[in-house]
């Protein structure tokens, strides 16, 4: 019986999830509400069935996610029976950090990178599952599945542990932690195919629908709530759009699309000529920008 590539990817991810639970003292799953998180959560439900996954979900919130994402997040926590922890960087709230006044770099750094470190320290998590994939970005291609962070949450790309066979060395010193990426070997297409095959629920924003958007800096930005300041001449217009990737709504570009079913989404993705991260403002800085962010502690 030849296993399909999706069966093998599934088995590998489940193996990784179980290994961390067996070896770590206090693991957590970072839940970002997107499609990769949806797949990771689904795999966790499979890995520990009939038990509920023995760790909580952690959402590091920026307060600028789409409203649909918050509703979906709360629904998933309810349906899985897992504990949901939400952390917002209190300094960011105090200084009212937002993507409009402070720009994407500062907003991401304070609300996501700093917020994540705070949350991990606050709860004393020694292992955090993340949904990152190696095909997303070049520096990720060389990151290990078990990726160690110093007590200051720094990643040292020159000092990674070799990973052989299915053997993961999860030993660490006090204060050190690990980020673990069970989806390392999945591609964007694998994720979509698996969602289709397994009927995994995802945020409705991935499906095309009429939504209010403005065109700004060459991207279609959805006016998701009244906090979005409109520039002179900008008038929200209704367009049939969807999102290939989800983040903070002011930083996430929509694409015009008719794809309102999963096969249509996959079809569109296969025929399209741009990669998914293109819609994210954060990657556009400079070559190696993601690598720098990772060394500083960005997931």
């Amino acid at each position: 019986m030849t296993l399909t590539h999706l069966q093998r990817l599934e088995a590998e991810s489940i193996h990784i999830l179980r290994e961390v639970v067996a070896e770590a003292e206090n693991p957590v799953m970072l839940y970002s509400i997107g499609k990769d998180s949806a797949v990771m959560l689904h795999l966790a439900m499979k890995a520990f069935h009939p038990a509920v996954p023995p760790f909580p979900l952690l959402h590091v919130d920026t307060r600028w996610k789409f409203r649909d994402m918050y509703a979906f997040r709360d629904r998933m926590a309810r349906e899985t029976g897992m504990e949901l922890l939400v952390h917002v960087n209190p300094e960011g709230v105090e200084k009212d950090i937002n993507p409009f006044t402070h720009g994407s770099a500062i907003h991401t750094d304070i609300m996501k990178t700093e917020g994540l470190k705070q949350a991990l320290d606050r709860y004393g998590f020694d292992a955090a599952f993340g949904g990152a994939r190696r095909d997303e970005e070049k520096s990720r291609a060389k990151e290990r599945i078990f990726s160690f962070r110093s007590a200051q949450h720094r990643w040292d790309p020159k000092n990674q542990r070799p990973e052989l066979w299915k053997l993961y060395n999860a030993r660490k010193h006090k204060g050190e932690s690990m980020r673990v990426f069970p989806l390392s070997n999945w591609t964007e297409l694998d994720i979509w195919q698996y969602i289709h095959l397994e009927n995994i629920p995802i945020v409705p924003l991935y499906y095309a629908a009429e939504r209010p958007v403005v065109e700004r800096d060459g991207m279609l930005i959805m006016v998701d709530d009244e906090r979005m300041p409109l520039r002179p001449g900008e008038r929200p217009m209704m367009k049939k759009v969807r999102f290939r990737t989800l983040g903070c709504y002011p930083l996430t570009g929509a694409i015009e699309s008719e794809a309102d079913t999963l096969p249509a989404i996959i079809q569109e993705m296969l025929l399209t000529r741009t990669s998914e991260r293109q819609g994210r403002i954060i990657d556009h800085d400079s070559a190696g920008s993601m690598e720098k962010k990772k060394q500083e502690g960005y997931f």
Partner: protein
């Protein structure tokens, strides 16, 4: 990411159905900086239409900035990831790439070919089903080609493609190809490589990558892509073997359910199958294969499952479930091949953590049979193993484990070694067979045991382990302690350099490797003497924490007292009772502790003696006092 499939636009439903049935092949590419390996991978991604416009635009921009191909796209830049190495123009680590065709999904482990990176290649090869060895047609089979072949074979990769690249630079000449094939075939036969395929190609121009080359009509064999689409996946072989599943996690959500979760490492399992729990040897029957989507009638190697058994037997993480009709072997002494991956060398006798399957045990290399020169395949004698060194070794564990020879099962025969202090992964190895003495030496049950021997002497056996710099006063204090104990009627024995170095250990010198072995033997002798019911005192510098920890591990809880004779280096050097410090300072004595060899002070010794504040008599009195407090002496 348009696949070359018309179905996408016309019938997405049918396209999805076919693509959900694709298999997965993992392969590794090996070659040096200039063989065009990155170019080949970039070409494979490009040809399978795995590149997006924005990625192409980025690589075109990068090509102008860093490229080596003039105005043309430098495919190599697609795959060179980290900023540091991009500037150096080389890849420095293992990177994983993905692409797919209509038949398969591929995971490529891209590893560099430099000598110092054996470690990375071994890592990438450990999970690969096939290997693509790059040979520059202009240069032919090089030393590094042989090295890569050896490593690929060592890691159990059965299918090898020799990609003879840059044929465009030798005028697509058949003679060049033939000569390289002949040269390599000789070598392959010596190594025992079974399945080798040779393909002439130009990664740069795209010859014989996905389409047969028009410029090499003399070659009628497969293209590289044609080969990769049909070569056997290793997992198919694993499924034909006997059933194996290391238990990774015991699932107990409530009192009514007890499942054993793991990834099947070999064979097939069905409800009703008889299984043996190893190493304990108890047997039971598989009741259910539980998944979230309902119970399965059968599961195969490669799947992660949860099994329940018909009987309630004690099973924990690290145990192996095996087919009762063909169980794994159980042993604690092995012949293995070890690859060293750390800057700090491997020393025989030093304990490391060993992870195999889901089990972690303590392992020591008991001897290095020989090191292998990966360039010449010659066997050379070695007393330690440095970074990237490979050796045939004997390995001893602190307890028995279930295993299969690596050649039969990579997941139940492959292991890693972990440093106990730094927690780094320092080595990887392959078990070959259990040593006969492990088969034959079963702990002999004796009627007169340690407790009986100690009772006859009316004392509690223990080991007082004195450690400290040369000249600290270890022997002096230990001698005083022994005299007092003897006077009180205790049976004792003092092991020190004089009575050990001249006899038992006279074959050992003062290198790090020999110091480790010296202490290992002393610790074993001390243990035997404690077994005999004696109070044992040892007085050795014993400079390394890991060896002292090893000695401690040999004794029962509470029977090992580390006595740190704490004397500052200046004081010990000023005393210099044997004139050794002066010799060492003059360079006449190498590897002298405190001068050119480190002393790792104990972190949690049971007794610390500050010799600046205490006389030798007071120090001895303090040791007796602590022994009494701990109930080791008669009241």
């Amino acid at each position: 990411m348009a696949h070359v499939s018309g179905l996408i636009a016309t019938d997405i439903g049918r396209y999805l159905e076919t693509h959900q049935r694709k298999s997965l092949l993992r392969f590794i590419t090996c070659g040096s900086v200039d063989d065009g390996k990155s170019t080949l991978i970039g070409r494979l991604l490009y040809e399978s239409k795995m590149l997006f416009d924005d990625q192409l635009a980025a690589v075109e921009a990068d090509s102008r900035k860093w490229g080596t191909q003039g105005d043309a796209i430098d495919f190599a830049l697609l795959v060179d990831g980290l900023a540091a190495e991009r500037e150096q123009g080389i890849t420095i680590d293992v990177a994983y790439r993905f692409f797919s065709t209509d038949r398969r999904k591929y995971i490529v482990a891209d590893t560099p070919g430099h000598e110092q990176y054996t470690r990375n290649m071994v890592t990438g090869a450990s999970t690969a089903d096939a290997a693509v060895l790059m040979v520059d047609a202009r240069k032919g089979v090089l030393t590094q080609t042989r090295r890569h072949s050896y490593l690929v074979n060592l890691l159990g990769i059965r299918h090898i493609v020799v990609a003879i690249n840059k044929m465009d630079l030798v005028g697509y000449a058949e003679e060049v190809f033939r000569a390289i094939v002949e040269d390599y075939s000789d070598f392959a036969a010596r190594l025992g490589l079974a399945d080798v395929t040779f393909i002439p190609m130009s990664a740069l121009r795209g010859d014989n990558i996905t389409e047969p080359s028009a410029t090499m009509p003399w070659y009628r064999g497969t293209t590289l892509m044609g080969y990769l689409e049909t070569v056997e996946v290793d997992e198919a072989r694993a499924q034909r073997g006997p059933f194996r599943m290391p238990v990774q996690w015991v699932n107990r959500p409530n009192l009514d359910f007890r499942g054993f979760a793991g990834t099947i490492a070999g064979g097939v399992v069905r409800p009703g199958d008889r299984v043996r729990v190893q190493p304990s040897g108890r047997e039971s029957t598989v009741a259910r294969i539980v998944t979230r989507d309902g119970d399965l009638p059968l599961a195969v190697a490669g799947q992660s499952v949860t099994l329940t058994l018909a009987d309630e037997i004690d099973i924990s993480r690290g145990d192996m479930l095996s087919g009762a009709d063909a169980p794994a072997e159980v042993a604690d002494q092995f012949a293995c091949t070890l690859v060293w991956m750390a800057d700090e060398p491997m020393l025989p006798g030093r304990p490391y953590l060993m992870k195999i399957g889901a089990r972690t045990v303590t392992a020591t290399v008991t001897s290095i049979k020989h090191q292998i020169n990966v360039n010449t395949l010659e066997h050379v004698a070695a007393r330690k193993l440095d970074l990237n060194g490979i050796a045939e070794c004997n390995l001893g564990l602190d307890r028995a484990i279930a295993f299969d020879p690596y050649a039969e099962n990579r997941d139940t025969g492959g292991f890693i070694l972990i440093d106990r202090l730094s927690h780094a992964t320092v080595g990887a190895g392959m078990l070959h067979f259990a040593l006969r003495r492990a088969h034959n030496i079963h702990p002999q049950h004796v009627d007169v045991d340690k407790a009986a021997r100690a009772a006859m002497k009316g004392q509690k056996p223990c080991v007082l382990w004195f450690t400290g710099l040369s000249g600290a006063g270890k022997s002096t204090i230990a001698n005083l302690v022994e005299k007092q104990l003897h006077a009180q009627g205790y049976h004792t024995y003092l092991l020190d350099g004089d009575n050990v170095r001249h006899g038992l250990n006279k074959d050992l010198g003062f290198t790090d490797a020999d110091r480790v072995e010296n202490i290992r033997r002393v610790a074993e002798v001390a243990r035997l003497m404690a077994e005999a019911g004696l109070i044992v005192l040892t007085a050795f510098i014993s400079p390394f924490r890991s060896e002292r920890r090893m000695a401690r591990g040999l004794m029962a809880e509470g029977e090992f007292l580390e006595v740190f004779v704490d004397t500052p280096l200046e004081v010990a050097e000023a005393r210099d009772p044997k004139g050794l410090y002066r010799k060492a300072r003059r360079g006449e004595l190498k590897n002298f502790t405190g001068i050119d060899s480190p002393y790792e002070a104990p972190e949690a010794a049971e007794i610390r003696l500050d010799t600046a504040a205490l006389t030798a008599e007071q120090a001895a009195g303090r040791v007796i006092e602590v022994m009494r407090e701990r109930g080791l002496l008669r009241a």
